[in-house]
Each structure stands twice: as C-alpha cells, then as structure tokens.
Amino acid sequence: MDKFLNIISQSVVAVRAFKLRTFFCMFSVALGISAITIIVAATEGAYKKAYDIVARFGPDSLLVTSGGEEARAVGRFDKTLTLGDVEAVKQNFDTAYVVVPMSAVRNINVSYRDKKYQTTIYGSTNDYSRVWTWPVIQGSDFTDEDVNGLRNVAIIGKYVVEQLFGNEDPVGKYILVKNIPVQVVGVLSERGTTPTGANLDDRIVIPITTLMRKLQNETTYISTFRIRFTDQERLEQRQEEMKQFLRARHNLRASDPDDFRIVSPKEIIKFLVALTSSLTIFLGVAGVISLFVAGFVLANLFLLSVKERSKEIGIRRAAGAKKRDILMQFLGEAVIITTIGGLIGFIMGYVSSNLLKLIAEFEIYFSWKAFAAGLLLSWAVGVGFGLQPARKAANMNPIDAIRK
C-alpha cells in the first residue's frame, strides 16, 4: 500500500511537471465528458418530463380516439366512436370508475363584450375535471343536469380568461360561442404547454350534449373518450380487453384494422422520449466521437511522452522499479488527467446545459447518474487509452532506456 501510494505520488508529480501534455489531454477529455453529461441529463430530463405528463394524464387511464392508424395516416379523422360505445363501456368494465366522452371543434369565434378571438371548444361530461385530474380553481364543474339538459355553460382555461376577461372575474359572466350565449361556471387551473407546443390553457369546455347538438349538429358520434381504472396494475390487460370489446361492437372482421386507437401512458412516454431522442442521439454520437478523439490525443501524447522520458524510465528501473511499477505510474498519470478532465467536463456540461435550457425548450435533469457516467467514462478513457503507452514504458529495456 505504501508502495502503491509512492508510485501514485510519482504520477501526480509527472502530471504537474508535464503541463502541456496535461492541459491538452484534460481539455480533450473534458469536451467529450461534457457532451456525455448533457446527454445523460437530457435523457433523464426527457423521462422525468414524460413521467410528469403521464402522472397528469393519469397512470390509470386510457384514451380511446376515433379512427384507426391508417385513416390518420392519410389525414382522415373519421368519427367511429359513439355515445353508445361510452355507455356500453360503462356497463361492461367493472373497474372503470370514470368514463368520459369528448369531442372538440376547432377555430370557433368566441367573444366577451368587445374582446374576441378563436379557440377550440371541447365537449365533455361533468367528470371532465376529475378524469383529467385538472382542478377547477374558480367556480365549479358542470353538473349532471347541465349535461342532460344541454345547458349553455362552460369551464374555461386560464389563457381564455386572459384573452377575454383580463383581470375581471369570469365566473357567472356570459360569453358568446359562435353567437350562442354561454355562461362561464368555472376556471381550470393553469397547465402550460405540451412538448409539441400546444397551449393546454387555451380551451373552453362545455357539456358534450350541448357541443354535439348546437355546434356540430351531431347526435351519435364523438371523437374520443377516456377511461380510468381502479386496477391500474392491470392496465395492459384492460387495454387489450377494450380493443376486443370495441372491435366486436363495431362488427370488425378479423382482417379489418382497428377503426379506433387506444393511447396508454406507456405510449405517451415512448412518444415524448422519441421527441428528445434525435437530439440525444446527435449529442451521443458527438460525445462518443469526441471521447474517442480525446482518447487518441491522450494515447499519442503519452506515447510521445514515454519516448521523451525513456531516460527517466531507465533511471527508475535501475533504482529498482519493476515493470508493473512503471506501468502503474504511467497509467496513474493517465487516469489522474482523465479524472480531472472528467470533472471539468461535468462542470462544463452543467453550465452549458443550463445555457441550452435558456435557448431551447429542453428538459435537463441532473442527478448522480450524469456525474457517475462522466466519471466512469473518463476512467475508461484513461485506462483504455493509457494502457498501451504505459505498457510500452514498462517493457522498455532499462539499458536502452538509460542510454537514450
């Protein structure tokens, strides 16, 4: 142990003595590690965000939308789900504790006094707030009577409040939706934007019955419905049951594709992570390449250094250093340099990802994982690329080394 410390102390001395070599190796390792740090933090950020969103979506929820994958692909949004489907699901799925149908109409003129703009109107039942875990912070949700009676009532998003009311309290006021007067009964809490840039707070929710009759001239079809289950752990099984149930109700033959789509929390995570993954892959490739470059810089500078320091190696061997002592010293030099380079890289990654956060919509989450990944990789570079030069130093013939 004493001897090991002695040899490592020689590594430290050499790291300090050969400053230029140390600087270049450290710098190139730091660049690579900073890229890796950002990647790990960005990936973690993406997952964290995805899980946050799923937590809001509801980890116990499924969303069923009208129209199959193929119809979507060609841009058709056929309505295939009906209020009857919703009723049937309610009857047949014991563990479904809320089932809420939804439809939406885009680009509807809304106004309050002299203020007007266009927004999307969503139709839902009185469970809208509960099913989306989206609290009504002012006023109240609608009631069964509102839905059954096709009443002209609305709960509105924060953005709508800003657009139409400013600082005025909207609850109880009447707004015009496509020239139909609708009374605001509640305001939804603020939710921000989706990763795709949609403003979640820009929405007006009215009873689905009102929407279908008065805005869509529709009696049967809806665009989506949402279900929440009490047995969250069996969500995948429920999803499969839902699929078979709807296929049977829609009289699809075995060869027909689904005419609906079921979105589960899992798919949301996949989708959200995929959004950031292109950037992650780019950075990942860049990071790995720059680590390799760093490794080659290190290996070359060390080979050069071994050559220059052959006399030193000879002196040490004559004084009684074994081959492995020399190997340990040079490997120690490499690992010390890459470790410090890695730490600098981590700091650089931390700083630059914070800058990146300012410039772009980019989720970054730093945990011990980014730190550990950086440290382990810097060791890997140190050992991986330092080994060959160190071996060369160790295997030098002491007689030749000393005469050079």
Binding site: V13, I315, A319, G320, A321, I402
Partner: protein, 221 residues
Amino acid sequence: MSLCELTDIKKTYKIGEDNVEVLKGISLKIEKGEFVAIMGTSGSGKTTLMNLLGCLDVPTSGSYKLSGTEVSSLPDDELSRIRNEHIGFIFQSFHLLPYATVLENVLLPTLYLEHHQDGLKARALHLLELVGLQDRAKFKPSQLSGGQQQRVAIARALMNDPELLLADEPTGQLDSRTASEIIKTLSDMNSKGTTVVLITHDENIASNAKRIVKISDGLLV
C-alpha cells in the same frame, strides 16, 4: 564468500542477422569492501560487464553469484528487487530526474522498497550532508553544477545502503578538479565499507582504485 563471483560469463547480442559476442568468457571475483576499476576502451565490453554486474542484464551463458546467490537466470522482478536493495548506480551524465528536487532524487530508490521503512527522509538528508549538499535539498538539478549533480547521484546510489556501488565513467563530463573531488567522495564511501566498482577508460582515474581490471575485446587481460 565473494560479493561478486563471475564464472565464464559470455554475452552475445543479436544485431540484425549477426550475433555479436561482446563478452567472450569472463571470470572475475570482487570481494566485499574492494575498490576495483574496470578499464577498457570503448567497445571493449566494459559497459556490458557493468550492466551484468548491476543486474540490469543477464548473461547469455556463465554464472554470476551475487553474495552467493545465482542471479544469471532470475526473472525481471527479482532483478529489480536486487537492484533496489543491493546495488547503487552512478552514471556518466548524472541521470537525475529534472522535475524533481534534489531531496526527491535522493529518495527515488526508496519509492520501490517492498516494505515501509521509517526515517528515510532523515537518512536522505544525512547522505546529502555527507556529499556536502545539505543546503541544496530543495533545489532542482538544473540549479546545480555538474559536480554537485553527480554528488546528488552518489547520495541517491547510497540511499538504500547497497553492498555494491557501480560507477560508469562518473567523471566523464566533469573537469579534472571536480573529477578528483568525485573520486575522493567514492574513496570515502569505500573506506566506510561500501564496495565500489569504477568503470572508466581513463588511466588516471582508474589509478585511484585499489585494484585495476583491464578488459579488451570481451576478455580480461
């Protein structure tokens, strides 16, 4: 028992296709406490002989017993240990580590000791005092004169208290006055009991030793 006992030592180097026999059968005994000069012209094989004596190399054939132990077929690690514990080297061009201080240079052989020892620093300082450089401990080699550097090298060679001190042309890069100082230092060490083997081509220098062994064309004459 002799300190060094060489019997019919041969050493052949392969240079390209040719085998060059540098030592052609050398038998030599060096007793404990001797001061021997090995003299020869360049190419005579004296440096190869020193490398063998110092366990930096092994002979192609023949026997070399150091304190009674056959060392001619030992593995590399064992040779390293023997160099570390039993042999001190002094080279023509001093061979100090340029980035280490004088004291660190003197302590170099202690880095490779297998077992921890106490009082190493005190011993190093004492050795520096013996060679008259106690006030230069914190200097870098480049701040010292040639003679001073060689004295640091002598202190380093003595650090692990070796039985055998090997000096390869120790005065080759020094002026004659400094050279005689260095030789005097070596004589002092010898009179304190250290066996000294001096390798040189210079008759004047060799004449300081108590015994002169001449080598020519790979054979003792």
